[in-house]
């Protein structure tokens, strides 16, 4: 009983709590280790699955692309063939239209060339006729001018002869005038010389006498003219 009690005392509440705590920690450790192992295995599995999925997807995608490429090539070739046929037809129509237009234009050009040729011929004929008329007029004028020149030459000869006669007359007259001018200049020179002599005398005698010195002479002259002055003052 006592053992039972000792056992009972040994497995008291604290000991049980400690055991529970120990158990709980052991359980948590076990759980964590399992979780880590599980996580590791899961990661490995996921990586493997991802690789497999990628490989599979690529294979599937390559197949799909190859298939689509073939279909697209067939479709494109078909469409291109159709377009080529349409374009060929339209190009043929355009070529035909252009050929027709070129032919039409060539015909018009030929007609215009023909008309121009006729006009040119007519114009050349008119020009030739006008030229002949002008040449004839010029010939007449030249003949008239030649007559005028002959008349002018004759007149010039007569004028030259008259000028020669006038020249002789002028020469005679000029010689006579030169002699007259010479005489006139000499007379003027003598007259001017007299003025120069007078001017010299006036300049030489000027300011030589004041009024007081001149007074006897002035009164003498006044005496000589006294009667005339007196008569004039009495008028």
């Amino acid at each position: 009983m006592k053992v039972f009690e000792d056992e009972k005392n040994f497995f008291d509440e604290d000991f049980r709590a400690e055991l529970r705590e120990h158990a709980r920690k052991y359980f948590e450790k076990t759980i964590e280790e399992n979780a880590a192992a599980f996580k590791k295995e899961l990661d490995s599995a996921v990586a493997e699955v991802t690789t497999d999925l990628k490989t599979h997807s690529i294979q599937q995608l390559d197949g799909a692309i190859t298939e689509i490429k073939g279909e697209l090539r067939e479709y494109s070739v078909k469409k291109l063939d159709e377009r080529f046929v349409e374009y060929g037809k339209e190009m043929k129509d355009a070529q035909n239209s252009a050929l027709e237009s070129i032919n039409h234009t060539a015909t018009d050009l030929q007609e215009q060339y023909k008309q121009l040729s006729e006009t040119l011929k007519k114009s050349i004929a008119d020009q030739e006729s006008t030229f002949n008329n002008v040449a004839k007029e010029n010939s007449d004028r030249i003949a008239t001018m030649k007559d005028s020149q002959d008349a002018a030459l004759d007149l010039l000869n007569k004028s030259a002869q008259a000028l020669q006669e006038q020249y002789q007359q002028l020469r005679t007259m000029l010689q006579k005038n030169i002699v007259d001018q010479e005489n006139m200049i000499l007379s003027a020179f003598e007259d001017n010389m007299a003025q120069i002599v007078e001017h010299y005398l006036l300049g030489a005698l000027g300011d030589q006498f004041d009024l007081k010195a001149q007074l006897p002479s002035i009164i003498k002259q006044l005496e000589e003219n006294k009667q005339a002055m007196s008569d004039d003052m009495k008028l």
């Binding site: 002599v197 006036l202 004041d210 002479s217 003219n225 006294k226 002055m229 004039d232 003052m233």
Partner: protein, 172 residues
């Protein structure tokens, strides 16, 4: 001394110091001034003008008054004198004399005296200056010109000088 009322401008004689018409005008102005001064003095003194002293006069006016026996101590006499002098100034005969040099007053007085003694008693001289005359006088009376200058004399001999030069050229 006689009264001015008894004398007219025709009775006046001009002294030698009064030479030109300007001198006569100056005498008129001076007598007018003297009359105004003496009349004003008589009014201020409330006296008869006979008793007012005569102001100092110019030499020309003194000579004129002395030569014509005139006095200025009576207001009426002064008034009559002014009237007669004004008439004289307007009617005085003028002889224009142009000289070659500036005329000095003494010579002008001498000439005025000679003119008044020999030509016209009341004549005055208008003086001019013309250096080109060289010497002598260029005289102008109311109706005539008398060229008594050396230039005039030479001008009269111009033809003679020309003839002499012509003769000189002919001889060469």
């Amino acid at each position: 001394m006689s009264d001015v009322a008894e004398k007219t401008y025709n009775d006046f004689t001009l002294p030698p110091s009064v030479v030109s018409k300007v001198d006569v005008s100056r005498m008129v102005t001076e007598v007018e001034r003297v009359d105004n001064e003496m009349t004003a003095a008589a009014v201020r003194n409330n006296n008869d003008s006979m008793e007012v002293a005569v102001p100092v006069l110019s030499q020309q006016l003194t000579d004129f008054l002395g030569q014509n026996d005139l006095k200025l101590d009576n207001g009426k006499l002064r008034s009559d004198l002014i009237t007669q002098l004004r008439i004289l100034k307007d009617k005085v005969p003028i002889i224009h004399m142009t000289f070659a040099v500036t005329a000095d007053p003494t010579s002008l007085q001498e000439l005025a005296q000679w003119v008044r003694a020999n030509i016209e008693p009341k004549a005055v001289i208008a003086v001019g200056l013309q250096p080109a005359l060289v010497a002598g006088v260029y005289l102008r009376t109311p109706n005539h010109i008398h060229d008594l200058s050396l230039r005039g004399i030479l001008k009269g001999q111009h033809d003679l000088l020309v003839n002499e030069l012509g003769a000189l050229r002919g001889s060469k």
